[in-house]
């Protein structure tokens, strides 16, 4: 595995754009790929706006911003990834899409390039099992917003070589991130261990032990959590949170510890999704 100089990012959504911004801020030439050119242009504008904000807040200099933006390219042709030493896929969480993307990448990229996926809910092994060289496929799971959140989960699929994991751990450390390594298990670490924070809070609320305001207050004042389980669900999106719970629950073949609560489903059915819909467990003014 040669030195990482050029990086390909697949997907221009929130995570793809966030990851690309992180990479160019750390001096890596980065190409974002998407099938829609207009989405790519939008992502580029978003990244530039974010970097401008950092200049305004005096977190970076104008020169740093300019040289970061110079490192960013966009493309609708996956062939442009042929010289990348690292590809980070942040496409929609659909297994067919990811499997066919990795099949294409295997043909385009050199054999020692690392092919990483930012999936939060799919198995690394399932994404790469059909490839000729699954040993260089690895999970590289960032948290939103990627430029700010320190954690990265580096996930070893059943066929991932330890060297691939080590390379990404060192790479993440080089960007001042906190990498942790984990096996290819449902929800990896964070999305699994955090389930009871939400699920049990909903259960306690629905059983009338305490109400939403009380539970959030208790978790913050008796437990020092920065946010309560309900305000945090409102921030993440109740639909997004429910989807994660459903995915972990299904991947563990219905293990009851992860069973979603019907109340979450009611909130989604009602269109009360949290802050983005101006209302969830709490009300928000505009």
């Amino acid at each position: 595995m040669g030195q990482i100089k050029q990086i390909g990012v697949i997907g221009s959504g929130t995570m793809g754009a966030g990851i690309a911004q992180l990479m160019i801020q750390n001096g890596y030439r980065t190409i974002i790929y998407d099938i829609h050119h207009d989405l790519l242009k939008k992502a580029k504008v978003t990244i530039e706006a974010k970097l401008n904000r950092l200049v305004e807040k005096k977190k970076i200099t104008n020169e740093e911003k300019t040289s970061a933006i110079d490192l960013l390219d966009i493309t609708t042709d996956l062939q442009d990834f042929k010289n990348c030493q690292l590809v980070i896929e942040a496409a929609p969480e659909k297994i067919e899409i990811k499997r066919s993307l990795f099949k294409e990448l295997e043909e385009i990229c050199s054999q020692d390039a690392i092919l990483a996926t930012n999936t939060s809910s799919l198995s690394i092994t399932e994404i790469s099992g059909h490839l000729s060289h699954p040993e260089r496929v690895v999970g590289f799971h960032f948290f939103n917003p990627a430029p700010l959140m320190p954690l990265v989960e580096v996930i070893q699929g059943l066929k991932t070589e330890p060297e691939t994991v080590e390379t990404l751990v060192d790479f993440a450390k080089g960007m001042n991130k906190t990498p942790v390594t984990c096996k290819d298990t449902p929800g990896f670490i964070v999305n699994r261990v955090a389930r009871p924070f939400y699920n049990e809070a909903i259960r306690i609320m629905n059983d009338q032990v305490a109400d939403v305001e009380q539970i959030d207050r208790i978790m913050k004042r008796a437990g020092k959590f920065k946010m309560g389980p309900f305000e945090l669900q409102d921030l993440i999106g109740i639909d997004v949170n429910l989807a994660t719970t459903k995915s972990v629950h299904a991947s563990f073949y219905g293990e009851t510890r992860f069973r979603p609560h019907f109340y979450q489903e009611r909130m989604v059915q009602a269109g009360t999704l949290g802050r983005k819909s101006n209302g969830g467990y709490f009300h928000y003014d505009e």
């Binding site: 964070v190 924070f197 004042r221 510890r257």
Partner: protein
Amino acid sequence: MEDTFIMMNKTIAVIGENLLAKNLVEDLKKNTKGDILFNEFSLLEHADIVIETTNLHVQEKKRKLQEIESIVSSNTCLLTSILQVSATEAASWLHHPERLVGFAAFADFHDNELVEVALPLQAEPHFLQIVNSMFRLLDLETEVVEDEVGLVFPRILSLIINEAAFALTEGTASVHDIDQAMKKGTNYPLGPFEWCEKIGLDDVYAVLQGLYKQFGEERYRPAPLIKKLVYAGWIGGEKDKCFYHYQNRNLKEFSL
């Protein structure tokens, strides 16, 4: 304010062997002027309030509450920790259940601002005022919730720790990486294993065991690894061994 003044000079007795009991005694001595008794059954008849804190062994808790009741007067306020049983169940062991109040907190309660309390179904609510003013002396607000095993924070935190223990058992990640992930990926103030070391795994196990019995649901099944650590006495708190020790031991090569 008057309540607080009266409370300042009350005799408060603490009965319990766990870290929670020790920390309560230390805090009460620092913040009140009255006598603070610690496991002194011979002086218990003078107590205005008795706090009982056994969590791990329910039979021992029952025996202690009944012994306390046999010594104190019938209207003495009994405050009991309800990590493994509901306040209603604890009250059912008494001849005068109406003076029992439940509270749920871990041993690190004095680092926090709030403590949860609940009344048993059999309660007379005015005992709650006594408990509120006592906690106010310790600079703690109270939040009254419905009576259920482990109330809110101990219940949620214990289940997070339980899930972390299952993940560790399966070799998903190391103790250190699971702690790091929860702090850096979702802003937890402490990692689940660090939290155990601080509050004591015995009380966490008590909550899980209590929920499992109360609801009879697989969802609350304590991770076998937690049981083993409790049996081994590797419970953190005052003990220096817990999950980190367990993992380091595992890394040693015993076989040739």
